[in-house]
Amino acid sequence: MRDLLSPEEKAIEAVVARYQRVAPAVTRFARSLSGNEKLRVILGPDAAASDQEIVCDPRLFQAATNREAPVTAAEMALASAMHEVVHLISSNFDEPESPDTSTDLLEHLQKEGGPVAEVLFFNLEDARQEVQGLRNYPGVRSVLTDIYQAAISAAVSKAGPLGQFALGCFLYCGDYVEREAFERRVTSRAQQALSHAHPLCRKAAAADDPMAVAELALELLEIARDYGLLTSVREEGTQAQKRMQQKQDAEDAADGADMVRLPSPSVQSAESYHDVQRATEARAGLSDRKGASELAGDASTDQLLRVSEAPTVYLPTGMAGKLIVTPAPVTFARFAENGRHALEMAARRWGVAQRQVSGELYPLFAANQRRGLRSGYDQGDVSPHAALFIGAGLYQRMYERRASRTRRSYAVSLLVDASASMLQPRNQGRDRHSWGMSAALLGAMTLARLCHELQVDFEVSLFNRGFASRPSDTEWTYTRAASQAAAGLRQTHGTAATRLTSTVNHYLVKPFDRRWRDAEAVLAGMFWTAAEPAQAALAARRDPRETPPVSMFERAANVDEFNLIHAAERMAKLGAQVRVLVVLADGMTRGSVEALTSAVSAVERSGTIVLGIGIGDDTATGAYHRFEIVNRPEELTRAMVEGTRSALRRGLALWGIDSWWLRPNRYEIPYLKEAVNA
C-alpha cells in the first residue's frame, strides 16, 4: 500500500485548505441530509452539533489524512468531512429507553451489558449511520471503504479474538469487507463467533433507530460470551474485580476497530459523545450572535483558517511556503497627525525634498501624458504658454509638438522590512537613534509621492514574521488574538502552534489598486510609530483599545524571498512594461541567502528591475545584483528615491525616448548611472 500524501500535505493548514475547497458542497450535502436549509458547517476546536450548526474539529480530518490509503487528497478531504457531518447529524442517544423510564440508551446499555456492549454498540452504530447517511453518496462510501480496508491487516494482527470480533461486527454492518476474506484472517474463535454474528450485523445496518442497534449489541455480547471471547470472572470475585475485568475486555474489544474506524467523537465512546453534547450546550446562543459567520468564533480556528487560506508562494529553488497577505491595519491612521509632523521634521533634518520629487521626470511622464504634447527647443509649434516659460527661464519648453500617446506603462513596488530590528537604535553620527524603519518609511513616503506625481502605478508593502495583524486590529484586539490563538493552537496542535502563529506576513499599505490619498494617513501613522517607538508603545499601553497594533513589529525575524516573489507576481499581473521593485531590509533573511539570490535572479529574468538596499548589513551585496548599503538615514531615503528615479530613466532610455535634456542628478548612484547608460 503506497501513501499518496506527502508530509507537507498532511500539515493541518494543508488539510484545512483542502477542506475549504470541498466545504460548499459538503455544506449543501449536510443541509440535504438534515433537511435544514439553514444548517451551517463550520470548523472549531471542539466537535458540536445543534439544529443550526455543525462544528467539525479539523484534527479529525488530519487524523484521516494521516491514514495510509490509496485515496487522493481531495477524496480524503471530502470523505473525512462527510464522515464527521453524518455522525454529528445522526447521533442522538439521549432519548429515554422507553416512555416509562428516564434511563437513556447509553445508561441502559451500560446497565445491561457493561462496557463491552457499549463498544459493540458504537461499532455497529458508526457503521449503521454511514450506511444510511451516505446512501446517496456511494463515492464517499467507496473512499471510506478504501481507508478502512487499508487498516484491516494491521488491526487484525494487533487485536485479540475479542478485538477481531468487534472489528468484524463494524465491517459487516457497514458492508466494508467480504465476509469470507475477512474470516480467513482472524482466529478460529473469532471466526466462529463472527459467522454467528453476521446476520445480526446486517440487521443492525438496516435498523431504524439506535435503540434497535443497542439491543443487537447486547445479542452480540452474548455471542461473544458463548464463544469464550470474554474473560470469565469467577463467581466469588468482587465487584471491583469484575469491573476491572470488563474494562479490560472493553479495551481489548476496542483495540481492533479503533485502528480501522475514523475517529468521530459522537460515535467513539459514551464519554466522547457526552463531550460533544457539552460542547454543543456551551455553544448554544453563540451561533445566533455570530450571524452568518463561517468561523467557529475562537481565535485559534480563525488563525488556522487564515493560514490555510493564505496563498502558497513557490520559490525558484522548489521551496514553498504560506504567505499571509493582508491590508495594513487602518488604525495606524490614528497616529497620522503626529506622523505628518514627524515626517516634515525628518525630511528637513535629512534633507529629503517632499514637493515635486519627480523633478525633470515630470514633463516626460504626467504632463505629456495628459496633453499628448512633447516639448523642445526647436521642434513643433510655439507653445501658447511660451511667454510664461520664457519668463520662468524654461526655454526648453518654448515649442511643443504632438506626440502619439505613450503606450508604455510603469509600475513601482516598494517592500520594506518591518521586523523589530528595523526599530533598533543605530549609529547616527555620534548618537545612536532608531532610524532604520523611520528612514525607510520616509523613503517610502517620498517614493510614493514621486510615483503619485508621475502617475505611475505603485505599491508600498511591509513584510515581517510573527502573528499577522488584521486590517481593523487595535493593540488590544491584536495582542489578545495573538495570545488566544497561540494558547488554543498549542492545546490542539502542539508544536505546530508556533508555525501557525508565527507566519510570514505581507502587509499592503498602498496596493496598486487603491488611491494614495487613502493610504497616506496609514503610512504617516506607521512613520510616527517607527520614529518614536517608545512613545507609540506608551500610547498603546495607556489606551490599547484605541491605538494601532504597535506590537506587530515586535519580532526580529523575516523571510525576504517569499515577499519578493509575491510582490513581483502582483506587479507582473499589472502588465506594466517597466517594473521596479525596491527591497529594503536590514539584515539576513530567516530563509536562506541562496534562496533569496535565486528569487532575485528569477524576478530580474522576468524583466523587473530589483534594487536591494541594505541598512548597515551587507547581505544585499550577495543577494542582489543591484544593491546599495547605507549607514545613515539620509543615504537611505536618497538611495530609495534616486534608485527608483534612475530605474525609471533607464526605462525611458530603453524605450528610445530622448533623454538628452535629463539633468545629471546630485545624488546619482554610481551603479545606477551605469544602468542609465546601459
Binding site: 460548499p24 459538503v26 450535502f29 446517496n136 453518496y137 463515492g139 464517499v140
Partner: protein, 331 residues
C-alpha cells in the same frame, strides 16, 4: 397517424385522456408547408407530467364548458429541464404545425406581426405590400405557437401581443386587417426563472403580460424520471451507468437550485448533458478504463464555470468517484 391520440398520466393516478387530432385544411395556401411543420413524436420522450397536464386543459376546452375562456400556457423552468420538448411533443400528439418563435431582446413587434414593404415591379416602379410577421403567418392556419424565452422580449414586443392573448383573441394589423385566433390555434410560452442566475437578457415578466398566461413550473427531473428517460433512449445502457448519471444530475441540480450563493453552483446539469452529451461520451470512450469519468471530463466539465469546478468534482467524488468497471452499453 390515427385520428385520435391517448395521453396517459405518468403518475398512474388520472385516467388516460383521448383527444381528436387536429387536421390541416387542404384549402390553405400553405397547406403543404404547414403539414411539414407537424413534429414527429419522439420515441424517446418521457412525459414527466407536463404533457398530461396540457392534455387535461385541452380536454376541458374541447368539452366547451360554460364560461370557458381560452387559456394560454407558459412553462417556466431552468435551462435543460425539457420545457420546449414538452410543448413540441404536445404539438406532435395533437397533429398541430409547430411554430417556435424565440423572443430574444432583438425581436421587434414588426418581426412578429408584420409590416408593409416596398416591392419593385421590374419596370422601375414600386408598390407597397403587406408581409406577415412570424406570429401572423402562424395564426393563418392551425398551429401550436411556442413563444420561447417570454421574459427575454422587450416590453413593446409583448404589448403588441396583449390583444391576441386576452379575451379579444385577435391581432389588429397596421394595415387594418384583424387576424382572429382560430379555434385550432394553441399559444404556449416558455421562460427561465428570473433570479440572480446567469440567464443573459431575461427580466421579470411584465405583470399585465404575465396575467394573460397560466404559468406552470417545471423542475429538474427526479432520479427515477431521469433513469426512465435514459433507459428509454438508450435501452442497452447498463444499469450502473444509468444510475450513476442520474445520481450526478440529481446532486448537481440540487446544488444549482439552493438559494444560498455560498453553497450552490451556477451551471446545472441539463437534460442535454444527461441525455445527449454524456451518452455520446460513453460511446466515444467506451474502451477507456473509466468511460464515465472520461465523458465527465470531456463533455461536462468544459461547460462548467471555473469557479464551479471544485463543487462539480466534489459531487463526482461523493456520488461516483470511480465509474462502473463494465462497458457502458451491452453488446
Amino acid at each position: 397517424m390515427p385520428d385520435q391520440v391517448s395521453i396517459s398520466d405518468p403518475t398512474g393516478v388520472g385516467p388516460p385522456i383521448t383527444l381528436d387530432r387536429f387536421e390541416v385544411p387542404r384549402n390553405l395556401e400553405d397547406h403543404h408547408q404547414r403539414v411539414g411543420k407537424i413534429p414527429e413524436p419522439d420515441p424517446h420522450y418521457v412525459d414527466l407530467g407536463m404533457l398530461y397536464r396540457f392534455a387535461q386543459i385541452e380536454a376541458v376546452r374541447r368539452s366547451e364548458p360554460e364560461g370557458f375562456a381560452a387559456l394560454h400556457l407558459a412553462v417556466r423552468g431552468h435551462m435543460g429541464t425539457g420545457k420546449d420538448h414538452d410543448i413540441e411533443q404536445f404539438a406532435a400528439h395533437m397533429g398541430l404545425p409547430y411554430y417556435r418563435i424565440p423572443l430574444t431582446g432583438e425581436v421587434r413587434d414588426v418581426t412578429l406581426i408584420g409590416s408593409t414593404r416596398l416591392h419593385g415591379d421590374g419596370k422601375g416602379g414600386t408598390e407597397s405590400r403587406w408581409e406577415d410577421g412570424d406570429i401572423t403567418r402562424a395564426l393563418r392556419g392551425p398551429a401550436l405557437l411556442n413563444l420561447s424565452e417570454l421574459n427575454a422580449a422587450g416590453a413593446e414586443t409583448l404589448f403588441a401581443l396583449h390583444g391576441l392573448l386576452d379575451r379579444y383573441g385577435a391581432l389588429d394589423l397596421p394595415n387594418g386587417e384583424t387576424v382572429r385566433l382560430r379555434p385550432d390555434v394553441r399559444v404556449f410560452g416558455t421562460m427561465n426563472p428570473t433570479d440572480i442566475r446567469d440567464y443573459a437578457g431575461t427580466q421579470t415578466l411584465n405583470k399585465a403580460f404575465a396575467d394573460r398566461w397560466v404559468i406552470w413550473e417545471k423542475d429538474f427531473p427526479a432520479a427515477d424520471q431521469l433513469q426512465a428517460m435514459l433507459r428509454r433512449r438508450y435501452p442497452s445502457m447498463r444499469d450502473d451507468y444509468v444510475e450513476a448519471i442520474a445520481r450526478l444530475a440529481i446532486e448537481v441540480n440540487a446544488s444549482f437550485v439552493v438559494p444560498d450563493a455560498s453553497t450552490r453552483v451556477e451551471s446545472p446539469l441539463s437534460l442535454r448533458s444527461v441525455l445527449d452529451r454524456i451518452p455520446t461520451g460513453l460511446r466515444v470512450y467506451h474502451s477507456d478504463t473509466d468511460p464515465l469519468r472520461r465523458s465527465w471530463e470531456e463533455f461536462v466539465l468544459p461547460h462548467v464555470d471555473s469557479f464551479d469546478r471544485d463543487h462539480y468534482e466534489t459531487v463526482w467524488n461523493a456520488v461516483v468517484r470511480k465509474g462502473p468497471a463494465v462497458t457502458p452499453f451491452a453488446a
